[in-house]
């Protein structure tokens, strides 16, 4: 045999994994992309391509359609919205492409496997933490809470709100004194919180439906010199210097709740599916959230920070 | 011609119109007899166009009444006017540049009944005779934007004709028309008149009035100054009615061409070619006024564009000593910033001189402008007034002020007296002489031959982008120029 041509084994197959991401603008999504890229880069026979739907259903449907034309070996979809992606993910399945669905349940089980977390559970955890905080502060569960809401109508916003209210509503002396809408965006949260601070003389806890909004609220309170008066609770718990865990470490957030990136599980399933023809994944994987407080922040920071990311 | 017995066809009584503080019409009255050509005269801003627009239903009057054949009528919209048989050619030549010639004629035209669907072949058939009558021999499906300003004037006349009006209001219809096109219009007017159509004719051109009009009504400051029988009056009388005093017509002054041969020309064009010009050669000397004559679309404006670098010169050479200024023919589209003030418009081209490190020295701006305004006899409510509030004549003077401040060695004036009243014209003639006297080289385009003959030292005649003839002022006559412009001479020279 001529030199340089490996003998024996047939040339190794190159696999393509396509990831249809709902958007890459939110830090959580950006972390998903980065983490998945990192995980799959370790596999020499695997190529990852990512598309960004910029929060637009039609764009995402189009992008999945284009992926179907390319016939990748595996498709991962983080749906922008559940109903919109259901049909096109069915088309992918019909085209014999294994599909892993991330975080959002779609209307029909048009996926090989579904990896998600539970926002209602996270909301409940956050609610319980707030109750504990207030009890510690006043000796009994009472106080004023501000809820900083994400884009209305989105699943995460609805369920993180519902879970927390489920708990907080049990204590009549805990009042949600304001629940402004900041569309997940830190800069907006800062402005909305400023107005709340003007109207509310006493605030005990700010519950941001994501970390950036909690941080925005903190910045607003700090500007008025009231940041010590209240504590701030967020959700997402991303690693890295820009993530929520770091903010717990820095003492800005009292707690954050890890909303699992899900891509690590997806990568694990993907690798086994591609390399092991006999592998039959579970239809559904539920990933648990983790509470991050000052007590465990340092170790969590290690766990959740993705090397090479900010 | 005593038409006193004829009944008044259209009567407008005590028409009043205010624009903010300006009283455009102040209880003006006007009456029109069947089958007459009635001149409407007055200085710039006297209210002629306003009256015409009110009669045509496009401007609502604030007060007054209009009656037709003795019965009061309400003209609330242009369509009302059309229904009453009133057609109009607007002074502003407002047409639709991106619609075709045919569309410009049929749009909103009650005499071309259309359902909801467009029928191009019917449009073509309808428009052809009217385009022919005005002498616009062009594809009716060309966009109007391709027309020169003179051709646009013909197009709007064709539109007015197509409306088959009993009363036709013509607001300065010949302001950009050269003699042959104007002649054609006069013939048309005669035909219409013989058919019993009444015509209101707004013009600043005295010779036209005396050629074609039966009566004349003069407006002054929005009020009727008087109505006269044209055959029984004189230009002087009309001018007195218009301006309220005797106007001394400035005598023609000649520059001294004696020194010219010894001198280097200020500007030399040899075999100049652009997209619209072919092999144009001429010289211009210090202190000379060089006239340019030619038919509509003959390339007079194109020459200005070539000299000032607006059009690309494809071959030939152009040498000139000193800057060339260009006063464009369309002051609204090419000249003035309508939302800016008189002061700002006037000093726009010389801000470099009136500023220090980019800062405008406002004191000097005003003090430099003041003498120029006096020289031009420019009147305006205030220097801060937007030019849109000025009359046409004063707007033109603002543009002239811009170039006077700039003081270029060579000035190309493209039809500077278009639509300008007699008094303002006199001011401009005087100015041309003054400029020539201090050595400026002037090129004067005009649609009026008498004006060229009066002001110029030499006259070049263009025909279809070529230089058809050149005359010294002494030897030029209207007839010779017309022959050259219409290329009669060239044809005659051909052996048959």
């Amino acid at each position: 045999a001529p030199a340089g041509v490996p003998t024996g084994d047939p040339p190794k197959r190159q696999f393509v994994v396509a990831f249809s991401q709902a958007n890459n603008a939110e830090p959580y999504r950006a972390a998903q992309n980065a983490f998945l890229t990192k995980l799959l880069a370790a596999q020499p026979d695997l190529k990852l391509v990512i598309s960004d739907a910029q929060q637009d259903n039609s764009k995402q449907v189009a992008q999945v359609e284009t992926f179907i034309r390319q016939k990748p070996d595996l498709l991962i979809v983080a749906p922008n919205e559940r109903a919109a992606l259901t049909a096109v993910m069915g088309q992918a399945m019909e085209a014999k492409i294994p599909v892993i669905c991330l975080e959002r349940d779609i209307l029909q089980p048009n996926y090989t496997s579904y990896v998600h977390s539970d926002n209602v559970a996270i909301g409940r955890l956050a609610g319980q933490f707030i109750v504990d905080q207030l009890t510690k502060k006043y000796g009994k569960p009472r106080g004023n809470v501000v809820a900083m809401r994400g884009l209305l109508g989105v699943e995460g916003e609805i369920n993180r709100d519902r879970g927390a209210r489920e708990i907080l509503d049990r204590y009549p002396e805990i009042k949600i004194v304001a629940d402004p809408v900041a569309d997940w965006i830190q800069a907006k949260a800062k402005d909305r919180m400023t107005e709340v601070l003007r109207a509310q003389p006493r605030i005990d806890v700010v519950y941001g439906h994501n970390d950036p909004m909690a941080i925005g609220a903190y910045l607003a309170a700090k500007e008025l010199g009231r940041e010590k008066e209240m504590s701030f609770v967020g959700v997402d718990g991303l690693g890295g210097t820009a993530g929520g865990i770091r903010k717990v470490l820095d003492g800005i957030l009292a707690a954050t709740f890890v909303y699992p990136l899900c891509v690590d599980k997806a990568a694990e399933i993907a690798l086994r599916l591609l390399h092991d023809p006999g592998f039959r994944p579970e239809k559904e994987y539920l990933l648990q959230s983790v509470m991050v407080t000052a007590a465990n922040a340092a170790s969590m920071y290690e766990t959740y920070s993705i090397p090479g990311m900010l | 011609m005593h038409n006193v017995s004829l009944p008044e066809h259209l009567q407008a009584v005590a028409i009043t119109k205010r624009y903010g503080g300006v009283c455009a019409l102040n209880a003006a009255s006007f009456s029109l007899r069947a089958g007459e050509v009635h001149a409407l005269m007055g200085e710039n801003g006297a209210g002629k166009s306003t009256l015409a627009r009110i009669l045509a239903g496009s401007t609502p009057a604030d007060g007054g009444s209009i009656s037709l054949d003795g019965a009061p009528v309400r003209i609330a919209s242009p369509l009302d006017a059309q229904r009453l048989g009133i057609g109009i050619v607007y002074q502003e030549l407002d047409l639709f540049p991106h619609l075709t010639l045919a569309e410009n004629i049929v749009i909103g035209n009650l005499h071309f009944p259309e359902g909801q669907w467009i029928a191009p072949s019917r449009m073509r058939a309808f428009c052809a005779p009217f385009l022919d009558q005005v002498g616009l021999h062009m594809d009716p499906f060309l966009p109007a934007a391709a027309l020169s300003i003179g051709q646009r004037q013909l197009l709007v006349i064709a539109r007015a004709l197509s409306m088959d009006a009993r009363i036709l209001l013509l607001d300065e219809p010949t302001s950009s028309l050269f003699d042959d096109a104007a002649e054609r219009l006069f013939a048309l007017i005669a035909t219409l008149k013989s058919r019993g159509v009444s015509i209101v004719y707004v013009s600043h051109k005295m010779d036209e009035i005396f050629r074609i009009c039966d009566r004349a009504t003069v407006l002054r400051d929005g009020a009727t100054a008087g109505t006269v029988e044209v055959p029984h009056t004189t230009p002087a009388e009309l001018i007195r009615l218009m301006v309220g005093r005797e106007l001394q017509l400035a005598p023609r002054g000649m520059s001294s061409p004696a020194s010219r041969n010894s001198e280097e020309p200020l500007l030399t064009a040899s075999n100049l070619c652009t997209a619209k010009l072919k092999n144009v050669s001429f010289d211009l000397y210090r202190g000379e006024v060089l006239g340019i004559a030619g038919l509509v679309g003959s390339g007079r404006s194109a020459l200005g564009a070539a000299l000032t670098g607006m059009d690309r010169i494809t071959s030939g050479t152009l040498t000139h000593a000193g800057a060339i200024g260009l006063l464009p023919e369309d002051r609204r589209l090419q000249g003035l910033m309508m939302r800016m003030s008189v002061l700002e418009n006037a000093t726009l081209a010389v801000l470099g001189r009136l500023s220090r490190f980019g800062w405008i020295r406002r004191q000097e701006e005003q003090s430099e402008l003041a003498p120029v305004m006096r020289r031009l006899a420019l009147t305006c409510p205030s220097l801060a007034a937007p030019v849109s509030q000025l009359s046409g004549g004063n707007q033109q003077k603002v543009l002239l002020a811009r170039w006077l401040l700039r003081n270029p060695a060579i000035l190309f004036l493209d039809d500077p007296t278009r639509g300008i009243d007699i008094a303002a014209k006199q001011d401009i003639y005087r100015l041309i002489q003054e400029l020539a006297a201090v050595g400026t080289g002037l090129i004067l385009v005009s649609s009026e031959l008498p004006e060229l003959l009066r002001c110029c030292d030499r006259i070049l005649v263009l025909h279809e982008g070529r230089l058809a003839a050149r005359f010294a002022a002494a030897e030029a006559t209207q007839e010779k120029i017309m022959n050259a412009a219409t290329n009669v001479a060239a044809n005659a020279a051909q052996p048959c």
């Binding site: 109903a83 259901t86 209307l107 109508g153 | 496009s58 639709f96 619609l99 075709t100 749009i107 934007a145």
Partner: protein
Amino acid sequence: MLMLHLPPLKKAQRLVALAALLLLAVLISPTAADGSRIFLQAGNLTDILRQVSLIGIISLSMTFVILTGGIDLSVGSILAFSTAVAAMFLTRGYTTHMAVAIAAAVAASTLAGLLNGVVIATTGIQPFIVTLASMIGVRGLAKWLTSNQNIDIGFGRDLAAEFAAAFREKAVVIGAYALAAAVSWTVLARTVFGRHVRAVGDNEKAALYAGLPIRSTKIAAYLLSGLFTGCAGVLYAAENHQGNPNAGVAYELDAIAAVVIGGTRLSGGQGSISGTIIGTLIMGVLTNMLRLNNVDSNVEMMIKAVIIVLAVAVQRERNTN
């Protein structure tokens, strides 16, 4: 015959831009397992058509609005409003006929367009401001109406599911776009209304002097925009199986871009339906080409920016000669 006011060369240049892009797309297209170019697969080409159909329909009526010298920023919100109304009628038992739901959605959207038109035509406020206001207001209305919720349309055998199944069909969507394009072309080219639209945007003063019905022409243009956008909303609801009060964000930019890339003057009076269609296709082919080649989404944005400018420059370059 049509668009006689556009020199024929111009149309050709627009096609040149599209053709150049198509050629590039073919050349750099990845190949399928059988060696064929994926870009040229019938499935992919019809994908492109389907993907541009919604913006395509909106940009058709946007052409009318822009020709009158206006602009309609509210189309994204009206689309969302339409999806919401359609889904409410379909899923909440208001009716048993899908035609009623569709009619309701389209009527509601048309009404929003009518409101835009009436305010613009009667107050004389700049269309940018009026439609910016209704972009905000109609979005609020859609979200308020649905309490911020998406209204999902399932995959069962109910009315809503049948509706979605029927109207998400590729052939139906592309057919709707083709029909809308044919109607728009005909109306603009062959009707007196179309001529009035061009005339009003070309020179409003002249239109006044000619006694044209300026107000009703403007009102009709915005009404048409509401109508077409409402239809696009119905298709969106079917395609995405939901009424979505957050749908259509920034669609106005895509629609206006298609119109302007197609050679229509933003200040009105000059433009064509064929140009808008080409503009829409340029954007669609461009996106598909970059996606097929798996260009990184950020790099995709940068390349897109350059190609948009180039595509328009190609049209102008020869123009000026």
